[in-house]
Each structure stands twice: as structure tokens, then as C-alpha cells.
């Protein structure tokens, strides 16, 4: 399993406000990982940074349609790959489009680094929501 050096990895906390990304890795122990997966996180899931608390900590993220506050120390362990441009954090725009794909949820262990590749089913011109 090839490991990219940590310094080149984007963390959840590096995202800009309103920016969406796909989770590529979660560098933590099994127990912690299990808990976060039950809360909706996990490799391949779409997540966005909604904002930060006044002191900068905790950060608020949006995942599977709801919002979570997480301490920066732990959010830094979640590595992400930003998806095209900044995406407005919404639950839909009132029309009836298909929900955005979340990527495939692997049934393998989640420490496998997922190469970021552009989602294959979309073309740049089409709206994703």
C-alpha cells in the first residue's frame, strides 16, 4: 500500500468554508474509526466544511445530510480530496434531481488510500444537484 507523505495530504480542517470533498483516509484507531463511521463518515463519503466555532475549534462539517461539530485535533486525522470548486452546502434546490453520488463505500478496510479520480458519471457542464 503506497503511502503518500502526510504533508501533502489535505485534511478536513484545511478545507475552505463551504467547500466539499471526498474522504480519502481516516488515520485513527479502530475504535475511533468505528464511531465516526456510525456517525456517517468513512472513506469515499462526501463531506463539507460548514464553518468553525468562534474560537476556531470545534469545526462544523456536513455529512450524509446533517451537521456535526468535531474537534480540530480529530478532524485533522481525516484526509480529503476536494471536489470540483466550492459547492454550496444545501439539501437540494427544490427540484427533483438525483442526489450526488457519494462514491463507492468499500467493504475493504478503510486505511486503503483511495486515489482521487474525477467522478466518471458526470460531465463538467451538468449540474450535480
Amino acid at each position: 500500500m503506497a503511502k503518500t507523505p502526510p504533508s501533502t495530504q489535505t485534511c478536513l480542517t484545511d478545507l475552505k468554508k463551504g467547500q466539499a470533498a471526498l474522504i480519502t483516509a481516516m488515520e485513527m484507531g479502530d475504535e475511533s474509526l468505528n464511531k465516526l463511521v456510525e456517525m456517517g463518515l468513512g472513506v469515499g463519503r462526501r463531506v463539507s466544511l460548514v464553518g468553525r466555532a468562534p474560537m476556531g475549534d470545534p469545526v462544523v462539517i456536513e455529512v450524509i445530510g446533517y451537521r456535526l461539530a468535531m474537534r480540530a485535533k480529530e478532524a485533522r486525522l481525516i484526509k480529503v480530496a476536494p471536489v470540483e470548486g466550492t459547492v454550496r452546502v444545501t439539501l437540494g434546490d427544490g427540484k427533483n434531481p438525483p442526489r450526488p453520488r457519494r462514491g463507492d463505500a468499500p467493504s475493504k478496510t478503510t486505511s486503503i488510500r483511495k486515489k482521487t479520480r474525477p467522478p466518471t458519471k458526470r460531465s463538467p457542464g451538468k449540474k450535480t444537484r
Binding site: 485513527m28 484507531g29 479502530d30 475504535e31 475511533s32 474509526l33 468505528n34 464511531k35 465516526l36 463511521v37 456510525e38 456517525m39 456517517g40 468513512g42 464553518g51 468553525r52 466555532a53 468562534p54 474560537m55 476556531g56 475549534d57 470545534p58 462544523v60 450524509i64 445530510g65 446533517y66 451537521r67 456535526l68 461539530a69 468535531m70 474537534r71 480529530e74 452546502v89 444545501t90 439539501l91 437540494g92 434546490d93 427544490g94 427540484k95 427533483n96 434531481p97 438525483p98 442526489r99 457519494r102 463505500a105 468499500p106 467493504s107 475493504k108 478496510t109 478503510t110
Partner: protein, 639 residues
């Protein structure tokens, strides 16, 4: 841990013999995520026929209620809110045990009602899928349908029912819509169904399976979503202010101030009213009864005892009104976020702030407020340090001693005098003791399991007032029943110690049991600068701190509560040195004297080991600190 054998006194509600034996009724459990409106639903359908107790040995609360629909009666258990059945936390373990029928204090269930947040179906379905996979009979209740509809969203209920194979009921627990149909179904189920056999407990779900399950939940949610709901821009717009770097903390401060002022000052008229009521009752008895032991028992024992219990009610009710409103509306999560950074420096979390601030008024409602902290260790740590926050019962004692012994020196003309500085100093050492103890606890015996701290941030919602009223009622009832009995008992004990043995005790308090205990304690008190009279005072302060003022008045034979206790102040000036007074102040700042607090700690933690531990720890701290102050001061040449 005796999870399967409840002892009689902490098994609340026990099956009541005679009139109505609820243990024989069909039982249902309500499961669901926190913030899914589960409790609002429970409150709606059970109303006043609910009881709150504890599962023995854990801090998880147990809520049960009786429902009668279509002539059928059944029992509903409100499980703690959980995101998953995987038994990792205390809440999840208890919920899993109840569902599996593995608890001996609850019969096996007829079925489970899974409450889902219809505005966030894909997350809610995770738990629902777990329940279905666990093969318990389950029905789905989609709550907050009104909110979904107002945002233009819709769900294909028939499709959801087909996909999952379970009945689906759309409701709004807040408005009551959809409830009659749900209750009818439950009534039929109760009548025609039967208890599900006992199951093996679910095991912790491995991560890959959990990931698949969530993916499945997401897929199903996508498939059954008719129209996607419009985004909740109201919450976003409000959060721009509430979580603003400058405005946020200001709004927070304002909210905290309002809550505090309400408990501190707003409750005063009610408390004085109750005080007057009990005084009036006492006077009535005094006027109509012959002088003697029985009269003294009634006025100084029973009535004073009841009064000591009931006087807390206004503060508890007001505090829980605020907590309920803050939680329902969603602001509590934002407030916890704002405080989290500060609190985590000592190892606590953001939600600890409200119990601690409330403890500045009184630790009893403050400790009850720790209920909002889900993490068991953080909750215990907060309970432990709450009594260090300078509560309002200490103030009469501080006022008396500072007034009698601290000179009127001016530090900052017009603003700060030595008396005020001393008071602030006492507040300060209380706060420091609290934070230091928290740090010590969280570094050792209450160290956090290295689980990540995550907290859901729900959308802002209007509160459900009836549900709030019921919650307040629950809290008041819990307090009266559990703490009230202990407080009353201790008050009666104290009355006994002070009034007996007859007839010596009537003439000279030194001859009473309390006096004898005080005299026996004297060797331990002398190094602190105290004598047996203070000893008796400390004994009575163990019932409630402010009682020492009236006890000392009795001992020194002065009129109690005459303008600013001038009589007592004079008497004390003759009886102890200023240094001894300082030592006494420090003792009061640190030691755990309030029986009500001890009683509530017992109730909230489920066992005696915590209040005993706290009592010993704080007694030691208080004693040693007072010792250091007095002896150290003497060594340095002070008086």
C-alpha cells in the same frame, strides 16, 4: 456492576402492587437518534403517566410511561437516544439490553418503535436498518413531517414500507398530527401481539459492515425521496450571528447571564413566598400548641425539614425550563461549541458550562443539569466539581464572617473595598479548585476513552411547550422524591441531636448530643482556630450551609437575622480571631456540606460511592486548607 439485579431503592418505578401492576402490560420501546423528537413523542403519548428513574449502577435515565388507546393499556419505555445499537457507550448498551430483553428489570418487548427524523432520513435509517437486521418486530415513525412539508419535501411512504417490510407512520410529535393512527396501531399490536423472545445481545458492529449499512440507508433514502426539501436557510442565517467570532460569544454571555439571573434573582420571590408559607405554618403550630417536645418536633423538625426541601423547587423549575428551551431550540449545541475550547483545557467539554454556571446559584439543580452531557466520564467529572462553584447558600455565611471580621479598607476608591476583594477571593479559590480537580480527575480516574468527540448540530426548531412542561414536572418530582427524603431525614436527625437528651439540652446546648459531638471534635478543630461552638455550627451546616447562621445565633443566645446579624457578629468577634474567621471561610469554600447536594449526587450517579468519595475529598481539602491558613498565618505572625 450489578446490571441485572436492581436494589429496591434505586429501582424507580417499581411494579406497583395492588392498584396497577404495569409489569404485566405489553411493553414497547421507543428508539431513535438524539434530536429526533423521540422524547417529545413519548411525552405526548404518556403525558403525566410517566415515571423517570435510573437503571441501577449507571447514569443512564430510565423513562417509562403508560398509554391507553382504544381501551388497551400498554407500557412504553423511552430508550436513551442512540445513533446505533452497537453497544459501545453506556446509553447504547442499555438500549441494546432493553431491546434484546436481557434486562431483568424489564419484561421482553412486544416491539420497538423507531423514530426517524424525516428531514434527515438517510442518517435515521441507519438505526432502523440495524433494528430490522436484529430481527426485532419494529415499526418506523417518521417524525417532523410538518417541517419536511414546510420545506417542500416529501417521502414516498408506500415505497419505504415495501422496501423495508415494516409499517411506516408519518407524524409530527410537536403538533400531534398522525398520532391517533400510530396509537391505534400500537393498541392493536398490544392486543394481538406477544412478547418477543429474549435475544442475545448485539455485538459491536465491525466497521465495514457499518459502512455498508450506511450506504444502504443512503440508497433507500434517495429512492424514497419524492421532492427534495429546500435547504434550511433559517438555521444558516441565525448561525451567522450565533457562531460569529465576536457576536457569538456576546450572545452566549447574554444567554448565560439571563439564565443565571433568573435562577438567582428571579426565583427569589417564589422562594421567599415558600419561606413565608412555611414560617406561617410554623407560627400557626407555635400559637396553637403547648410548649414542649412535640411542638418543637413539628416546627423545627418536620416543617423546617419540608421547607428545606421545597425551597429548591423554584430554582430547579426555572433552570430546567431554560435547559429544555435551549435544547429543543437547538441553541444548546451552539453554546457547547463556544465553550468547548475553554472547557477542554481542563479535560471537560463544552456542555459542562451550564451545570457549572447554575451551580453558582445552587449545586442541586446544577448537578441535575449534567443530564445533558452524554459522555459518562465528562458527566461524572462535572458533577464532581460542581459543589466547588461558590453557591448562594455560602453567601450568608460569607456575609456574616466578612462583615464581622474584615475591616472597611478601601482598595479602589468608590469601587473596590477589602470586603469585596475577600468575597471575590473566595469565589476565585472555589473556581480554581473546581478546574484543578477537573484536570486531576480527567487525567486519572475519569480519563476519556480516546473516542473522538463529535456532537450533532441540529437545525433550529421551535420548542414543544407541552413536552417542556412535562420535563419540568419530571425533574421536580425526581428531586422531591429522591433528594427530598434524604434532606428531610437529615433535618430531623439534626433536630434530634440538638434537642436531646432532655432536659439538659433545653437549658444548655452544650449538653445536647450535638454539643457533645462538638466538644468531642474540639481537639480536631483547635488547630483550625475553632471551638466546640463552631463545631456544632459545622455539624448543622452539614444539613445546609446557611443553617450555621441560625445555629450559632442559638448558641450565642442572640436574636437571629436581626439587621445584618449585628448581634451575632459582635458575639463572634469576641469568640474567635480574624485569622480563625478566614480559616472558617476557606473551610466553607472547599468542603461539601450540603445534604441536598449529596443526595442529588447519589441520585444522578446511581450509587453511593461517588457522593462518599466527594465528601471525603472535599472534607480533606477543606480541613487541610483551613489548617494551612490558620497555622501558617499564626507562624507568619498574623492574628
Amino acid at each position: 456492576m450489578n446490571a441485572t439485579r436492581p436494589s429496591a431503592d434505586c429501582h424507580d418505578p417499581a411494579p406497583r402492587k395492588g392498584r396497577f401492576d404495569v409489569s404485566s402490560l405489553p411493553h414497547f420501546a421507543i428508539a431513535g437518534n438524539p434530536n429526533s423528537g423521540k422524547t417529545t413523542l413519548f411525552n405526548r403519548i404518556t403525558g403525566l403517566r410517566q415515571k423517570v428513574g435510573n437503571y441501577p449502577g449507571v447514569t443512564v435515565e430510565r423513562k417509562e410511561g403508560t398509554v391507553t388507546a382504544s381501551g388497551v393499556a400498554f407500557q412504553v419505555v423511552d430508550l436513551p437516544g442512540t445513533y446505533s445499537l452497537s453497544p459501545k457507550s453506556e446509553e447504547e448498551r442499555v438500549a441494546a439490553e432493553v431491546i434484546a430483553g436481557a434486562r431483568s428489570d424489564l419484561p421482553p418487548l412486544h416491539g420497538v418503535v423507531c423514530v426517524c427524523d424525516s428531514t434527515n432520513l438517510e442518517r435515521s435509517l441507519f438505526l432502523a436498518l440495524q433494528l430490522i437486521a436484529f430481527k426485532v418486530p419494529v415499526i418506523l415513525v417518521l417524525n417532523m413531517m410538518d417541517e419536511l412539508a414546510s420545506r417542500g419535501g416529501s417521502i414516498d411512504l408506500a415505497k419505504l414500507k415495501r422496501t423495508l417490510g415494516v409499517s411506516v407512520f408519518p407524524i409530527s410529535a410537536r403538533t400531534g398530527k398522525g398520532l391517533p393512527e400510530l396509537l391505534d396501531h400500537l393498541a392493536v399490536w398490544a392486543r394481538t401481539g406477544k412478547p418477543h423472545p429474549k435475544r442475545e445481545l448485539p455485538v459491536v458492529e465491525p466497521t465495514p459492515r457499518a459502512m455498508n449499512r450506511q450506504a444502504q440507508a443512503t440508497r433507500i433514502a434517495e429512492n424514497v425521496t419524492g421532492a427534495a426539501a429546500r435547504p434550511d436557510t433559517l438555521s444558516d442565517r441565525l448561525d451567522r450571528f450565533v457562531l460569529h467570532p465576536v457576536l457569538g460569544p456576546l450572545i452566549f454571555l447574554a444567554v448565560v447571564l439571563i439564565v443565571f439571573q433568573s435562577i438567582f434573582t428571579g426565583a427569589k420571590p417564589l422562594m421567599e413566598g415558600l419561606d413565608a408559607l412555611f414560617n406561617g405554618l410554623s407560627n400557626l403550630v407555635t400559637a396553637n400548641m403547648a410548649e414542649g417536645l412535640l411542638r418543637s418536633f413539628l416546627t423545627d423538625g418536620v416543617i423546617a425539614g419540608f421547607g428545606a426541601v421545597v425551597v429548591f423547587l423554584p430554582q430547579i423549575l426555572i433552570l430546567f425550563l431554560f435547559i429544555a428551551v435551549l435544547e429543543h431550540s437547538g441553541y444548546m449545541a451552539r453554546a457547547a461549541m463556544i465553550m468547548d475550547r475553554l472547557m477542554s483545557t481542563v479535560g471537560l467539554q463544552g456542555k459542562s458550562f451550564l451545570p457549572l454556571v447554575s451551580s453558582l446559584a445552587c449545586a442541586v439543580p446544577g448537578i441535575m443539569a449534567t443530564r445533558t452531557i452524554e459522555n459518562r466520564r465528562d458527566r461524572l467529572a462535572t458533577i464532581f466539581i460542581a459543589p466547588f462553584m461558590t453557591c448562594s447558600a455560602r453567601l450568608p455565611v460569607y456575609a456574616l464572617l466578612i462583615g464581622a471580621f474584615v475591616p472597611d479598607k478601601v482598595i479602589v476608591p468608590g469601587i473596590l473595598g477589602l470586603k469585596a476583594v475577600t468575597l471575590l477571593f473566595l469565589y476565585f479559590i472555589g473556581f480554581v479548585a473546581a478546574m484543578t480537580t477537573a484536570f486531576l480527575l480527567k487525567s486519572s480516574i475519569l480519563k476519556s476513552d480516546r473516542m473522538p468527540f463529535v456532537m450533532e448540530v441540529p437545525p433550529y426548531r421551535p420548542p414543544a411547550w407541552r413536552s417542556i412542561a412535562l420535563t419540568m414536572w419530571d425533574r421536580a418530582w425526581i428531586f422531591l422524591k429522591r433528594a427530598g427524603t434524604i434532606i428531610l431525614g437529615v433535618n430531623l436527625l439534626l433536630w434530634f441531636l440538638v434537642s436531646f437528651p432532655r432536659p439538659e439540652a433545653a437549658q444548655d446546648i452544650k449538653m445536647s448530643y450535638a454539643g457533645r459531638i462538638g466538644t468531642a471534635m474540639e481537639p480536631a478543630l483547635k488547630p483550625l482556630g475553632f471551638d466546640w461552638k463552631i463545631g456544632v455550627g459545622l455539624l448543622s451546616a452539614q444539613a445546609a450551609r446557611e443553617v450555621i447562621v441560625s445555629t450559632l445565633s442559638t448558641i450565642y443566645k442572640v436574636e437571629a437575622h436581626d439587621d445584618d446579624n449585628k448581634g451575632l457578629a459582635k458575639a463572634l468577634q469576641g469568640a474567635m480571631t480574624p485569622l480563625a474567621a478566614l480559616s472558617l471561610l476557606v473551610y466553607f469554600a472547599f468542603s461539601l456540606q450540603c445534604t441536598s447536594t449529596i443526595a442529588i449526587i447519589r441520585r444522578e450517579t446511581g450509587r453511593w460511592r461517588w457522593p462518599v468519595f466527594m465528601f471525603v475529598y472535599m472534607l480533606a481539602l477543606g480541613y487541610v486548607s483551613a489548617l494551612i491558613v490558620y497555622q501558617g498565618g499564626r507562624a507568619l505572625g498574623f492574628q
